[in-house]
Symmetry: C2
Subunit: 469 residues, 2 copies
């Protein structure tokens, strides 16, 4: 029998029992202690190593629990067969291939998909997270309801009622890891071959997703109130996908009258539905927010989708969908088979964030931050009035500039780029075979730029677009 | 001007500045402090309330940051317009509708979907989680790579290589919130109308999901080595969905020879793929684990899917998919549009859990626990040898009992239920129009029962199935 000469380091931060455990484990893995060999008794080894017997007991217990040794009553501890035991050797991490640092060449990026991350309430988040993981609540690690935790759904129902005028019982709400996932789930419920009306330009991911799953997309034109209902009615679409709070990317806010017409369209034929993507409704800087379309719906036809990714942080993958009552049966039959895509810990975290008032504070703070940036940007853009028209302001986190002096989108984008400013052309967002517009519009998102940065970037844009003309 | 008579509670755990902030916020919300009103100066209010000026400063700053008041230089603090500000009133949580407590009537539940939750390493998990949230790494809350974090993919690539013989570069790995989501993603990439070969019985969720997205499923019979390749070759299927490590629900382990035949089938015609669902490959109790099918693949045709939900805990919604190199272009075109469904915090957590050796320890511990339960169950089932045959043992966390004495599945299930034991009939897992078997088989999952409970439950089953015969 091996004498197990272990060099214990009493000054190490690694506990003694763990040093013993690791030594023996390594000996077993390397074959130094072969299958069937008997280990010294805990009393003997403790005496030999001059440690307490409890220390050796703990080391042996750990080895037993992981299957390296087994205890035979009245005989002692024996090395187990290693077959099937995991022995994972940490290797050096693979080197990430260098990415071409394209974004580095820009000093200011007016990305329409930004979020202000300095406002992320990291302390509150950490505190809540710690509290949830401290609970001796192992149920958190069991598979939960495919729809999401009832508690979170109840909290979201209350929030949507108060903030967006949405009428929803927790039973109608489905939690999912992002809007894209919820749209996938919807497609899987409805089955393929749906005819879906969309605006152009629109949220391109939704367009691609619908078409990848063999649905047919009907493009409907927009006017200053949003999707044209007269055109919609002329199509054979059963489903209309809209963003009434702040259309992406045009920023159009659908007025109440148009909302009523859209709901009327849905109500006049069986099987018609509206997907209301309320992706950034949280931010509106002038007047009262218009309640969600869903709140006016008397025909039970609106599928409402919202997200915490925009309002808290993009890496928080939590979105929610409110289904009309009449679709719940379809969900139970074809949607519930898919397990919830959000971990229960994250669900409890979001519920606590809302219930303990953090979300209210956070929204108001973000709104103040974004309003400040919005106002500074509009102020700076006054100088551009003679060469362009502004639209999509007063809500969301981006606006549009349409040149009225004949400057083309591509030229505007490249001139800005020469001065180190990234702006986004609108034409990228057009889908289908709808007629392309004059391509004179660029998008400026301001969520991710400080007020001072916006002023500096605007000065660059003046050089790019005004002085050169 | 209101004198703001705030009853401060110096003994409260709520900081004084927060008490002042809350009082003023409430006054603004209720209209007690109307739009445009000037607040007392911080010096004056501090004196009046007998608190430090810093305390009042902090309260006012909070109110400014949330948009309730604004600071006008040289003039003071004024109440803002409330329109658009969020005011979320916590309501009492909605009561959850009582669920019929069906599971209560069973003393022992041999669920095949169980996981031992007592083994969940909650302390390690909490420690790692705290460490990740403590990092001043706000990038964690930015939208990450749609494929998942490169670091986690690298870690998984190493793990899969060592533990499963899978050959994968991090670039081929896609992280998703559960196997169901990854299958949805695959469907969305391939487009609808695929012809997919499945065994029967099989994983019903996958069957439903494929069909909901308008794919055609071809049922292929199984023998004792798994899917019959001669039958597969006779179908027009392009994709074969298999679980070679431990077929669900039959527990069949596909031997190497059959694996080679399956790979051969895929390699002999263009556009053929194999989906290898390796859902519980981590647990094998006899002999060395057979490497994954993917590791033998010379034709770049295997799509490998695995999950941490089975091996860590079901509420951990993290799965991974290895795509063949030749499918990466399709993924970039049609899959990358969908944002990653796992939060970056969870991804870093899993990466740390693997990199710091916790996963190795956890797997070995779980394996020892499950092996113990597996061995006890098999030992207890010896008494049943004259009336039934055992299959699917030595791997996974469930086994099958097929009655040889003419007892039907329904009778076995209901007799067990009368003694308070829930067992599962195999016939539920059959799909399509394949011929149903004799319906004489039940499934016993043992992951969620302690060894002593298994002994007690087996005693009940003896009464149910032996004494009554």
């Amino acid at each position: 029998m091996n004498d197990l000469t272990i060099n214990l380091d009493v000054h190490s931060s690694v506990p003694l029992y763990e040093q013993i455990y690791k030594y023996i484990k390594k000996e077993i893995q390397s074959g130094g202690l072969p299958f069937g060999e008997r280990l010294p008794s805990t009393r003997k080894l403790a005496k030999y190593l001059q440690v307490s017997r409890t220390t050796v007991d703990m080391a042996y217990e750990q080895l037993v629990s992981e299957g390296y040794i087994e205890a035979k009553p009245y005989k002692g501890y024996f090395i187990c067969e290693l077959e099937g035991l995991y022995h994972l050797e940490p290797e050096s991490a693979p080197e990430k291939p260098e990415k071409a640092a394209v974004s580095e060449t820009y000093r200011y990026d007016f990305s329409p998909n930004g979020v202000d991350l300095n406002s992320f309430p990291q302390n509150a988040w950490r505190k809540l997270s710690k509290g949830i993981l401290l609970e001796e609540n192992r149920l958190l690690f069991q598979l939960g309801d495919p729809q999401g935790e009832y508690e979170l759904r109840g909290t979201i129902a209350q929030y949507l009622h108060q903030a967006r005028g949405v009428e929803a019982a927790p039973e109608q709400i489905i939690i999912g890891a992002g809007n894209d996932f919820l749209l996938l789930l919807l497609c899987s419920m409805f089955g393929t071959g749906q005819r879906i009306a969309m605006e152009s330009p629109t949220y391109k991911k939704a367009y691609d997703l619908f078409r990848n799953l063999s649905n047919e997309v009907r493009i409907v034109e927009m006017d200053e109130s949003g999707m044209r209902i007269d055109q919609l009615a002329d199509t054979d679409a059963q489903i209309a996908y809209v963003m009434p709070s702040h259309q992406y990317p045009l920023g159009t806010v659908m007025p109440v009258k148009r909302r009523m017409q859209l709901l009327e369209w849905a109500g006049t034929a069986p099987g018609r539905y509206i997907i209301e993507d309320d992706y950034d409704s949280e931010f509106r800087y002038k007047g009262k927010p218009i309640p969600a379309l869903q709140g006016y719906d008397r025909h039970d036809r609106v599928i409402y989708i919202g997200t915490f990714s925009k309002s808290i942080a993009p890496a928080i993958r939590v979105s929610y969908m409110v289904l009309p009552k009449q679709l719940m049966e379809l969900y139970r039959r074809r949607g519930r088979t898919i397990s919830c895509t959000v971990s229960r810990v994250d669900q409890m975290l979001i519920a606590a964030f809302l219930n303990e008032g953090y979300y209210e504070r956070h929204l108001n703070k973000m709104r103040a931050v974004y309003k400040g940036r919005h106002d500074v940007l509009l102020e700076e853009l006054r100088a551009f009035r003679r060469v362009c028209r502004i639209s999509g302001e007063n809500a969301g986190v981006h606006i549009l500039l349409t040149f009225t002096n004949g400057m083309k989108e591509a030229e505007a984008v490249s001139r800005a780029a020469e001065r180190g400013v990234k702006v986004y052309g609108l034409s990228w967002y057009f889908v289908g075979e709808a007629k392309l517009p004059a391509e004179e519009t660029v998008i400026l998102g301001y969520a991710n730029l400080q007020e001072e940065e916006i002023r500096d970037a605007a000065a660059c844009l003046k050089e790019a677009w005004l002085e050169a003309v």
